[in-house]
């Protein structure tokens, strides 16, 4: 679709899907996730130690390539140790006009929701103070409606893909990338129109081995294409660039900030949260729902939370008879063929 550099409003950048976009929109900004791209990250190595996760180095590389030169500011989050450092290094390197970091709880309790609500208040105070704003509940509700519209449309797209196959998996994940990086109203308008065309022109479900893709970020959907070329079909995922981004609406009832805190703390957890058992349960439900015959766990090199979670999740899957393959990326093109061979062998085994 369009180009996020042409946004009509000033843009606030963010890195992790635990960032409350509702508040960015309520403050009158466009919201844009900073992501990486496959390719060398050597430039970033001068700022971030090479043993930090490849995703944060790829994000920093995108900044060093000048992709985010026009940002009005950034919002960081302590999603993980590497993300915390990305925030520090981004500030030290690019000196953004505005920056703020949020503390995200690691547990899904009522107390954690309340704590995060306070953190959101702190963010609003900071935005109000720096930009001279007065963000009201009505503004927040407007932000919630926009984000819920994005989530609802993406859920429709996801269901459509499950029941029929109007687009390939690669196209689907490219659209999800756009959802996080393009101006929201423009994206929502585009997706709504596209869905209307697709529903009136359904095709049949493509054949292939149903696969669940789980893990961390997937800012380059190359692996999805490999799965499809090898005779597989990614029918569902547990990814922060996938289902976890849109899976739960923010309530429009009650206090808006409480509703936003609820949505983010209680949404399907990623590996940075403590709830590994919930992740296993979610994966098992996805496998059952989609009749998936295998699972690919896609992680970024040096991502400790996902690597360590996998040590527990893989055992659970094994004990339930789920066949799984772990793939790891460091964003380099050179390792792709090795990964392709492994995925082809895995799918061969599942057929």
């Amino acid at each position: 679709m369009g180009n996020s550099e042409t946004a009509d409003k000033p843009v606030l950048g963010w890195f992790c899907t635990y960032t409350p976009e509702e508040i960015i929109l309520a403050a009158g900004f466009e919201s844009r996730r900073i992501l990486g791209r496959t390719g060398p990250t050597a430039k970033a190595d001068a700022h971030l130690h090479p043993n930090l996760c490849a995703f944060v180095r790829a994000c920093l590389s995108s900044g060093l390539e000048g992709e985010h030169a026009k940002l009005a500011g950034i919002i960081g989050i302590d999603s993980c140790d590497a993300m915390r450092r990305l925030f520090d290094v981004w500030r030290a390197t690019f000196h953004p006009d505005y920056s703020h970091i949020l503390a995200m709880p690691h547990v899904q309790t009522a107390e954690a929701v309340e704590f995060y609500r306070h953190e959101l208040e702190r963010l609003i105070r900071s935005l109000n103070q720096y930009f001279g704003l007065t963000i009201s509940d009505a503004d927040l509700l407007r932000g919630i409606h926009t984000m819920n519209e994005t989530r609802t449309l993406l859920t429709r797209l996801y269901k459509l893909r499950r029941s029929s196959a109007p687009i390939s998996g690669t196209e689907y994940y490219s659209i999800l990338r756009d959802a996080m990086t393009e101006p929201k109203d423009r994206f929502n308008h585009w997706l709504k129109q596209s869905l209307e065309k697709s529903t009136s022109n359904e095709t049949s479900v493509s054949s292939g081995v149903n696969i669940i893709l789980a893990g961390g970020v997937l800012d380059d959907p190359w692996i999805v294409g490999v799965v499809e070329e090898a005779g597989g079909r990614v029918v569902a995922d547990d990814l922060c660039c996938g289902g976890r981004y849109f899976e739960k609406l923010t309530s429009t009832q009650g206090e808006p900030l409480k509703a936003i805190a609820d949505r983010y703390v209680l949404r399907a957890p990623c590996a940075r949260m403590s709830e590994t058992e919930t992740r296993v349960q979610n994966l098992m439900e996805l496998i059952e729902e989609t009749h998936a015959r295998g699972l690919i766990y896609y992680t970024v090199k040096f991502c400790d939370p996902h690597i360590l979670d996998w040590a527990m999740i893989s055992k659970e899957l094994q004990s339930r008879g789920v066949r799984a393959l772990r793939c790891e990326t460091d964003y380099s093109i050179s390792e792709r063929e090795r990964m392709r061979t492994r995925i082809e062998a895995f799918l061969e085994m599942l057929k």
């Binding site: 930090l52 915390r84 107390e111």
Partner: protein, 414 residues
């Protein structure tokens, strides 16, 4: 529950090792007392019928001792695994973990836990902050041991809301630990534990002041990490701290330098040091006269605690960790320490696998450059001897000291 007590392999290996290793001649009595006490605690965790909590170094020991538990520092287990060269824990960890990219302290913990080398836990407690991998490793250990796992969720910055959030968790945890041990929480015990911790802390603050003396009175390598694994909240903790204070004060009064050949360079050491048997630190301090006068992991960074509000006090202790400070403040603090201790240079040890620490290395390097303070970054592995090339480390250290010579040692940070 305590089946491993029949064969505490670690204790046997430690006894063997201590029989073959000469003690560091520059070690203070308090340092030796601490080392012996940590081994004694480990032995008691195996031998006594008292509940054992596996914890991490950021869980306040005052809470664990105050609930009448014996702590076993799971992340610290890498330290003694390295010291006694228990390399089989790494091989065993490889069977559980999908990659070797994880920090060796954590790999040692996974290997030791799954080999059942550690004292069986009644509960496993870990914090979420500063080492995200440890919480996952503790959970892996808890699952393997069929023990309850409790995460203390610690936010990234100090605030009143954060203090209340952590204090509530600490209170619930204290009740839970006592329930698991089959007793009621005794607030008097907790009160006493915090008072003892305060007393030990006051001695430590004196030690830090005394270490500023030129020449510094004690080698600094023995202090690195001391504050992280320490019996805070016990009488022995007070005794060790008092011994350290008395001996260091006496050395200052009697003008006894840390090393026999005199202090040539004053260094600040950031983060961990090699803990396996090596003479890297001896070579640096005793042979080359580059004495570590300041470090960050030996500190008692927290304010005096209010024993009448134990949970709030412990929450404040955890959240006041300077590692949680915003980066600009942290850098200012580092520069302040460099000035206070009049250091000639800084060594930043980058433990392979520690994302938290490695991620800030470029910022520290730039900050030191701007302040004209020489800095050496040393990539290495503090635990696994095989992963740290001895010759290369020494060559880099020697090169760094030559650089200090070339810029003139009189150019000391003021």
């Amino acid at each position: 529950m305590k089946k491993a007590s029949e064969r505490p392999e670690i204790i046997r290996r430690m006894i063997e090792k201590s029989g073959t290793q000469e003690p560091d001649p520059t070690a203070l009595n308090g340092t030796l007392m601490r080392g012996m006490h940590l081994v004694r605690l480990l032995y008691r965790a195996f031998a006594e019928r008292r509940p054992v909590a596996w914890t991490n170094v950021f869980t306040p020991p005052e809470l664990i001792f105050g609930c009448d538990y014996i702590p076993f520092w799971l992340d610290g287990s890498g330290g003694f695994s390295g010291w006694i060269e228990m390399t089989e824990v790494f091989d065993h960890a490889d069977a559980t973990l999908p990659t070797r990219d994880i920090c060796t302290f954590l790999r040692a913990a996974v290997g030791g836990a799954t080999m059942e080398l550690f004292p069986p836990p009644t509960a496993v407690v870990c914090t979420s902050h500063l080492c995200e991998g440890c919480a996952k490793v503790a959970r892996i250990g808890a699952r393997h041991s069929h023990a309850e796992f409790h995460l203390l969720d610690v936010p990234l910055e100090f605030s009143d809301v954060a203090v209340a959030y952590v204090a509530n968790q600490l209170e619930s945890l204290a009740h839970k630990l006592c329930e698991l041990a089959g007793k009621d929480l005794n607030l008097d015990h907790l009160h006493k534990s915090i008072e003892l911790s305060n007393e030990a802390r006051r001695y430590f603050l004196e030690v830090y002041e005394l270490r500023k003396h030129v020449p510094t009175p004690a080698t600094g390598s023995q202090f690195i990490g001391m504050g992280l694994m320490y019996p805070w909240g016990t009488q022995i903790g007070v005794n060790i701290a008092k011994s350290l204070r008395d001996e260091v004060a006496r050395r200052v009064t009697d003008s006894i330098p840390a090393v026999p050949n005199g202090e040539k360079y004053r260094l600040m050491w950031l983060h961990l040091r090699p803990v396996f048997e090596t003479d890297i630190m001896t070579h640096l301090e005793q042979r080359m006269g580059a004495v570590i006068v300041a470090d960050l992991l030996g500190e008692a960074w927290w304010p005096e605690m209010d024993a009448d509000e134990p949970f709030r006090a412990l929450a404040m202790r955890m959240l006041s960790n300077p590692e949680l400070l915003p980066m600009e403040t942290k850098v200012e603090r580092l520069l302040g320490i460099a000035r206070d201790y009049r250091v000639d240079g800084v060594v930043h040890f980058l433990q392979w696998g520690c994302r938290w620490n490695c991620g800030q290395s470029a910022i520290f390097r730039e900050a030191m450059r701007q302040s004209d303070i020489p800095l050496l970054t040393l990539d290495g592995d503090a635990v696994d001897k095989r992963a740290t090339p001895y010759g290369q480390v020494l060559t880099r250290i020697e090169g760094f000291l030559e650089l200090l010579d070339s810029v003139g040692i009189s150019k000391r940070t003021n």
